[in-house]
Homo-oligomer: 188 residues x 2
DNA sequence: ATATTAACTTACTAATAGGTAAGTGTCAAA
DNA sequence: TTTGACACTTACCTATTAGTAAGTTAATAT
């Protein structure tokens, strides 16, 4: 049952979103899966092993998501960018934040291996965002004078930050932020 | 020595920024202050008491910061807004994030009292940002068609999010984001 | 001088954390 | 039919957590 491993990682990511890396325990996982704590340790001996698996799954699903949109020739570059931002922002349920944000917050408490992994994922995220923005710029959607890197960081940051505010305020915070992002992109 | 209480709160805020609410312990505090753990419990019986004190201090220093800038008639509204954003963004050392962001991330693990407090502080933060933006709008700096609420949320979110990326990437991420924010404000 | 208070320390508790060693049941290949 | 791997469980260990009860010390007020 290689399925169990996937089950554990999926649940662990959800728990990271809800309680952070420090906040979730093997006991949480084992109880929710109806097995013993030791059986989780059988699949992931140390917590950092699970931590690495978590970041790898996040990176994988992130890349999949990106390629799906990127390769779709049926929509315009502008729509691709908008759709990616939309998906990025709405991937999570109402009280959930981005698992990457959660791990970035817990960064100092992370094992070295996981720290390196989360750094990698953060750079991957940024480079993907930059790729989409660069494509948009060649098509004239974006101002040539705009610094691609700054735009990419600002878009990702504002989405991630908005998810934090949504968690505690509950209000519909994302639509306003997304419309502001669209204004950034259209201001040329 | 009412000083000790302040000392504990200051250190606790720093620890929240570094390791989160779940991640810091009474032992951390006692060791760094050179006293016993029980003595910290003497000043703040339960961890949630310290949690409340933390949020109250954050709110207080936030308001102070705001009033200092707000009441200063020597600078223009536009400069006030810019300065406030600058101060907001650069208040923290290189690997530190906003303590409010940290508590928002740990929100689900927070005691009820602290949850309510952090919700209050979040709203306070937003209303202060909106106040400054509204003032800028009446002076014509901002487009009249712009939704003040969305602009306020986007500015705060992008700063907070950028601090997360800076923590793990180390790069100078803030200047780009701040210049993008200034573009949002000037685009009218 | 005595009582009281503030600010501690010592010494503990119960709960939970991550982690491990040794054993159990099941199934498939040899 | 035995071997061996896989996916567990039982039973433990040690460290750390928040939290408490009782005693200590020094200063202050009466």
């Amino acid at each position: 049952m290689e399925n169990r491993k996937k089950q554990i990682i999926d649940l662990a990511i959800k728990l990271v979103q809800q309680k952070g890396y420090v906040g979730f325990s093997y006991d949480d996982i084992s109880k929710q899966l109806g097995v013993t704590k030791a059986s989780i340790h059988y699949h992931f001996e140390k917590k950092e092993d699970l931590g690495v698996a978590i970041t790898e799954r996040i990176a994988k699903s992130f890349l999949q998501n990106f390629l799906l949109i990127k390769k779709d020739a049926s929509v315009s570059v502008e729509e691709k960018l908008k759709k990616f931002i939309q998906v990025q922002a709405e991937r999570f349920a109402c009280t959930e934040i981005c698992p990457i944000s959660s791990l970035q917050t817990d960064f100092n408490s992370l094992p070295d291996v996981v720290q390196k992994k989360i750094e990698e994922v953060s750079r991957l995220e940024l480079s993907i965002m930059k790729d989409l923005i660069a494509e948009a710029q060649t098509k004239g959607i974006l101002n040539d004078t705009d610094d691609i890197h700054s735009v990419a960081v600002t878009i990702l940051s504002s989405i991630k930050g908005a998810l934090l505010y949504r968690r505690v305020l509950g209000d519909d915070i994302l639509t306003g932020v997304i419309s502001q992002i669209n204004l950034i992109l259209r201001k040329s």
